[in-house]
């Protein structure tokens, strides 16, 4: 039920967004720079004009254009990071189109790759949803403006602002200007700078003081997530005492080429606010020979700005050819809490270098990290984390648990935790293990008539339980199935 409603509302938003884009396209750029921008997007290449064009397409105010340009100029001076345990083929930034308009869409499900449909079948995604995920233009029959407006009305009544980033820049410039880039500055790192310069869209959430968001927010609500392409920018602000749970789903394989995806997500939690951010990432991982797949280079950071605030990241990462992602929390407010729960699965030739940073600044701040890595095939899966206790982090605590599971002889599982402690009353604990699925466990399952593949997925599910528990229910079910699908062919 929920899924259908999501889809309906997203269709509604999509229609509205398309109209907005169309309107923007009709305008000419005020600085005299005229480009015939068609729905196919900008041609490949990146220079200041590209940045200006993106800003113009989106009808952004001047401060936003300048913000992007500053980021772009900074980006040009930055070296590419090479510290991660990843083999990345050189990326030609001039060969990328930075405003990818909708790709050619299949007309009906019949035109969609049967392998893809089979995957959806296994995931138990309803037919309508499948159509939307496969990029089929959604039939108007499924569209119900009323349902969409119900959601919007319910949120608006609560005072919650939830819209696309482009819309937010137009409608709520004050809030955007105040918070955008305040957690991840434009020059934070190579990919964040690139994102700041060229981001196409993303989500904006603002929960005013004392409001508990009446429903879980999700990118599902807005179909434009499908078309935002490679560079999204998400900003979530929870004012004093506000609560919100946000779900980000890239829950089906997108049939894309080896493509760069560099998103930035910023979370701001003021006093006593709580933000829970859950991700199930399943971008196209490339085929079993390591051809194609998404480069997922994402900067996600939360700032517990107020006392007693809490930010919690939960991620299930099964997709992408290469993942470079470290959702972090800056624990600035006293007694603030940061959490990171992660399952990262790599198979075939996938590479993942993912983890978190917990920067403790405030007194009696607490953080907890639970990371589960599963490597299969010829993949490489690394956990990289930093726990930093600054001088002022009186009585701060961290607990980190980091387990890796190896399936097969040719994969790698690595753990690189950094602990930097400058306060004598802080406590940091880290534990990590690496092992394979034991023969005893397998034998036990097999002797009870459970097929090998089912046994593996049961054991993997148990291994990940601690993280799945943190996911909202629909996501947990999906995540479990995703692991099953992703591990197909990993044993035997």
């Amino acid at each position: 039920m929920n899924e259908i409603m999501n889809e309906q509302s997203s269709t509604a938003t999509a229609l509205r967004d398309n109209a907005a884009v169309a309107e923007a396209l009709g305008r000419s750029y005020s600085a005299g720079f005229v480009t015939q921008i068609e729905m196919t997007g900008l041609p490949p290449g990146l220079d200041e004009d590209t940045v200006r064009a993106i800003s113009a397409v989106k009808g952004e105010p001047e401060w936003m254009t300048n913000w992007r340009l500053d980021a772009f100029r900074h980006w040009q001076t930055m070296p590419k990071p090479d510290w991660a345990k990843l083999n990345i083929d050189p990326i030609d930034y001039q060969a990328i189109s930075y405003y990818a308009a909708p790709k050619k869409q299949p007309k009906s499900l019949d035109e969609v790759d049967p392998a893809l449909l089979e995957t959806y079948e296994k995931l138990g995604i309803p037919l309508h949803e499948r159509a939307a995920l496969a990029g089929v233009a959604v039939d108007a029959v499924f569209d119900s403006v009323s349902v969409g407006t119900t959601f919007r009305k319910q949120l608006a009544d609560a005072g919650v602002l939830f819209c696309s980033m482009s819309e937010a820049i137009r409608e709520y410039p004050g809030i955007v200007q105040k918070y955008l880039g305040s957690v991840v500055p434009t020059g934070d790192n190579f990919f964040a700078a690139l994102n700041s310069a060229v981001f196409s869209d993303g989500s904006f959430v603002f929960i005013p003081k004392g409001v508990r968001c009446p429903m879980e927010l999700s990118t599902y609500f807005r179909i434009n997530a499908q078309n935002t392409g490679q560079f999204e920018r998400t900003l979530i602000v929870a004012e004093e005492g506000a609560h919100v749970s946000y779900l980000e789903g890239c829950t089906a394989p997108k049939r894309d080429e080896n493509q760069l995806h560099a998103a930035v997500v910023e979370l701001v939690a003021l006093e006593k606010a709580q933000i829970k951010y859950s991700t199930v990432q399943n971008w196209y991982p490339g085929d079993e020979n390591g051809v194609g797949g998404i480069y997922n280079f994402v900067t996600k950071r939360g700032d517990c700005r107020g006392d007693d605030s809490k930010i919690s990241w939960t991620q299930v990462e099964t997709g992408s050819a290469i993942t470079w992602k470290y959702p972090s929390v800056v624990l600035r407010g006293d007694r603030s809490v940061g959490e990171f729960y992660s399952v990262a699965l790599t198979h075939h030739f996938q590479q993942a270098d993912t983890g978190t940073k917990m920067i403790h600044l405030g007194k009696h701040t607490k953080s907890k990290i639970v990371s589960k890595g599963i490597s299969a095939g010829r993949s490489s899966n690394s956990y990289r984390g930093l726990v930093k206790m600054e001088k002022g982090a009186e009585g701060a605590r961290n607990y980190t648990q980091c387990d890796s599971l190896l399936i097969g002889k040719q994969c790698g599982a690595h753990t690189f935790p950094y602990m930097e402690v400058k306060n004598p009353s802080a406590i940091v604990e880290h534990e990590a293990t690496t092992s394979k699925i034991s023969d005893e466990q397998m034998f036990y399952c097999r002797s009870r008539g459970i097929a090998e593949e089912d046994a593996v997925s049961m054991i993997v599910d148990g291994f990940c339980k601690q993280v799945f528990r943190e996911l909202p229910m629909e996501f947990a079910v999906e995540a479990k199935k995703l692991l099953e699908v992703s591990l197909e062919g990993a044993v035997g």
């Binding site: 890796s404 040719q410 790698g412 930097e420 004598p424 406590i427 940091v428 534990e431 690496t434």
Partner: protein
């Protein structure tokens, strides 16, 4: 990389004349190492292996090369005595061999023990292979191994120790390096080669001492080869003078079924760095390391332990503890690599640390890199304080807080020496640990 040539340290190291050996291959190898050092200079903190150890202060110093009068410097012989250790002894003062302080007569059968300077003079050829091997190793790491390079270029003395196949050397061999004040601030370099033949067994006690007040820079490179089925017990007591900067590289290679047990106690020095690399090359090789580092004052002690499992059914267990006080900084990296095909590896590593004061810092980084699946690997690290309940227990029995703290901190460190088989030596080392704790 910082501009290598402009730093006083680099300049002074490059200005020093290379030791003249008259052996063509050796002179060439030294020149090559020095050129390599000149081209990369010192690592800065952007080099991952030096992330937590900045050389800014050290790099501004200028050291005179070697000590021409080292052979005449007075050394209090009582400094050298170690309870429970009576055997052959090799002593170096400011990197120069001192026959008068050493005990090399009546060596047991199967033990060859000589200063490197003498071996180079008498018959250098057998060293040729080993020498070039470590030079190529340094090649691979760029600036990170700058000090190994300058050592390869400049070291003219050190220890050459060989134990013949199946020889069991009962009495521990003592290797002592003493830093003594000279005419100016000195830099000196020592190179050790240690080889245990098949089935041999040896206990080696390595000491770093000094009581001078002058700044010094000393570099050490030790190549240790443990043959098939051989057993090595290596105890290191680093208690150098407080102005001494010590940079050590130890490289152990363990052959099939061999066993190495290492105990390391790091107490002295200003800036201390120890790169301890162990390769388990033969099936069934075993490694056991225990270490304590206790920086206080403004000391900086950095241990970089890297263990590589390269063969079947190898095992390593490591347990290191750090206590940082005052404004000192303790750095620990414990990396375990299980190479592809090294099935049956069993690796564990633990690093626990106590921070005793608000100005102190601990940076620790246990790492696992696993490329094989029939593996048991685990690591853990903690930084924190003494257990409140244990403190409460002691206080409830009438022990004042300060004393209870001292007791528990001492026990925390001493635990690393519990499995040291020589009881006298164990007590002596424990005493030194306790003496280093705040009163």
């Amino acid at each position: 990389m910082t501009q290598p040539a402009t730093l006083p340290l680099v300049e002074s190291l490059l200005d020093a004349p290379l030791p003249a050996s008259g052996i063509a291959w050796l002179d060439a190898a030294r020149q090559e190492s020095r050129d390599a050092f000149a081209s990369t200079g010192l690592p800065d903190t952007r080099v991952e292996a030096w992330k937590y150890t900045a050389l800014r202060g050290l790099a501004q110093r200028r050291f005179a090369h070697g000590d021409a009068t080292a052979s005449g410097r007075a050394v209090d012989p009582s400094l050298l005595a170690l309870p429970g250790v009576e055997g052959a002894r090799l002593v170096f003062v400011n990197g120069v061999f001192r026959a008068d302080l050493s005990t090399l007569d009546a060596l047991p059968d199967g033990l060859t023990l000589q200063p490197l300077s003498r071996v180079l003079k008498d018959d250098a050829e057998p060293l040729r292979f080993g020498w070039s091997r470590s030079a190529t190793r340094a090649e691979a790491h760029g600036a990170a191994d700058a000090f190994a390079r300058i050592n390869a270029a400049s070291a003219a003395d050190g220890m050459v120790l060989r134990v013949a196949a199946r020889a069991t050397i009962a009495a521990p061999v003592q290797l002592v390096f003493i830093g003594a004040d000279g005419e100016g601030e000195l830099a000196w370099h020592a190179r050790n080669l240690i080889e245990l033949g098949e089935g041999a067994s040896l206990t080696l006690i390595e000491q770093h001492l000094g009581d001078g007040g002058q700044a010094q820079l000393a570099t050490f490179v030790s190549d240790i080869h443990v043959g098939a089925g051989a057993k090595l017990h290596h105890v290191t007591l680093q208690n150098a003078a407080s102005a001494a900067n010590l940079i050590r590289h130890s490289h152990l290679r363990l052959q099939a079924r061999s066993e190495a047990t290492l105990h390391v106690v790091e107490l002295g020095g200003a800036l201390v760095r120890h790169d301890l690399q162990v390769e388990l090359l033969g099936d069934g090789a075993k490694l056991h390391t225990r270490g304590v580092f206790m920086p206080h004052g403004r000391q900086h002690i950095d241990t970089q332990l890297a263990i590589r499992h390269q063969a079947l059914n190898t095992a390593s267990s490591s347990n290191w503890r750090g206590v940082a006080n005052d404004r000192a900084r303790g750095v620990f990296r414990g990396a375990i690599v299980v190479a592809p095909g090294a099935d049956g590896s069993d690796a564990s590593l633990s690093n626990k640390n106590l921070l005793l004061s608000a100005g102190a810092e601990i940076d620790t980084k246990p790492e696992l890199e696993i490329y094989a699946d029939e593996v048991q690997a685990a690591h853990g690290a903690t930084v924190g304080q003494l257990d409140e309940r244990s403190l409460f227990y002691l206080r409830s029995r009438g022990i004042p807080l300060a004393e209870a703290r001292a007791l528990l901190t001492a026990a925390f460190c001493r635990a690393m020496l519990d499995d040291l088989p020589n009881p006298d030596l164990r007590e002596h080392l424990s005493g030194l640990l306790i003496a280093q704790l705040p009163a």
